[in-house]
């Protein structure tokens, strides 16, 4: 089975930042991939973006997805714990409702990985040759690495989703 790293499209004018996330009391916990400290429904967060559209998947600061992707995740993972967040950009008059699913956290990195010392940036991701869930997050690393399987990646692309970037990762030799 092939696996891919799921990312937010940062090319050209797709850049986007959510303001005030750092003020959340459980921000450090969220950064590690644990959303349990986050209230079930969150008040809106202000977004600064160069584009007139908000993407379907956000990964840079927090892993958030729109309802159609969340339904797809539930289809592949079954019932998952989640939180909600409303993003608004008043300047561009755009708003979107997002889901923050609790992804399985798996420590599966191989020693063949290429990264910097504190594992906050990976140049080559290699995971151990095992069977994994269709979507999960790699634990114990600073970088937010979300991995999806080939069937899920194909399902996302079939749905004409905007703002998604995929990068192939490797299985241990």
């Amino acid at each position: 089975m092939k696996y891919f790293r799921l990312g937010q499209d940062d090319r050209e004018d797709q850049y986007l930042t959510i303001k005030g996330l750092i003020n959340l009391p459980c921000f450090q916990q969220i950064k590690q991939g644990d959303i349990s400290g986050l209230p079930k429904s969150n008040s809106y967060m202000v977004v600064s973006s160069y584009s007139d559209k908000l993407p379907n998947i956000l990964t840079n600061q927090l892993f958030m997805v729109t309802q159609d992707i969340f339904a797809l995740i539930q289809l592949f993972l079954g019932e998952v714990d989640y939180r909600c967040m409303f993003l608004v950009n008043r300047r561009r008059n755009i708003e979107k409702f997002y889901y923050i699913p609790q992804l399985p956290l798996i420590n599966c990195l191989s020693s063949q990985c290429k990264s910097n010392l504190d594992k906050s940036h990976f140049t080559k991701i290699v995971i151990k040759r095992e069977r994994y869930p269709d979507i999960f997050r790699i634990s114990n690393v600073k970088d937010r690495v979300i991995i999806i399987s080939l069937p899920l990646a194909e399902s996302i692309l079939r749905r004409d989703i905007k703002g998604v970037q995929l990068e192939q990762i490797w299985l241990e030799e």
């Binding site: 069977r131 080939l150 399902s155 995929l166």
Partner: protein
């Protein structure tokens, strides 16, 4: 008229001609790569049967991969499945490289790059072209498979999107 629509129309017009002739031009190369791919997958399946990881061959799925198009890897994958279908944990899959055809399409998209407004739009045009190629390749693949059907009369050959919609060929 919106420049995006105009651009896509131009691409559509060009590819209506190109893709049909592309398949004819590279027919031999595609046939050879398909046959070698099929043989590799069949050998792999037999080894798995020998290790009792697979039962009798029931389906051969020839799947189009959109990830392959976007990441410049194989555009097709051959999956040999037993009665359990996709449910079997052990996989027997081989990538079908349609390299001469895909390279022509990539270079054509790069050539048209100046008219494309964003990277996202470029991806969309690329996927549209690839989907068109996939539709045109259905009958071509059916012809390739016809030869194999005589050796595998009980096997169902399927063509479509990976774990998505398939048609029997």
């Amino acid at each position: 008229m919106d420049s995006t629509i105009l651009f896509q129309q131009n691409v559509k017009q060009e590819y209506e001609l190109d893709i049909c002739t592309l398949l004819e031009t590279y027919e031999d190369s595609l046939t050879n790569s398909f046959m070698s791919c099929f043989d590799v997958a069949w050998k792999q399946f037999q080894l798995m049967q020998f290790s009792r990881l697979k039962g009798d061959l029931s389906y051969v799925c020839i799947s189009f991969l959109r990830t392959g198009v976007l990441l410049n890897s194989a555009w097709f994958q051959l999956d040999f499945l037993d009665k359990k279908g996709w449910g079997n944990i052990e996989e027997c899959s081989v990538e079908w490289d349609i390299n001469p055809v895909s390279t022509v399409i990539y270079s054509h998209i790069n050539y048209l790059d100046n008219s494309v407004q964003s990277a996202e739009q470029k991806d969309k045009v690329l996927i549209t072209c690839a989907e068109k190629l996939v539709n045109n390749m259905a009958s071509f693949t059916a012809r390739l498979v016809a030869n194999k059907k005589t050796y595998f009369p009980k096997v169902e050959f399927r063509y479509g999107c990976y774990m998505g919609e398939y048609r029997t060929i």
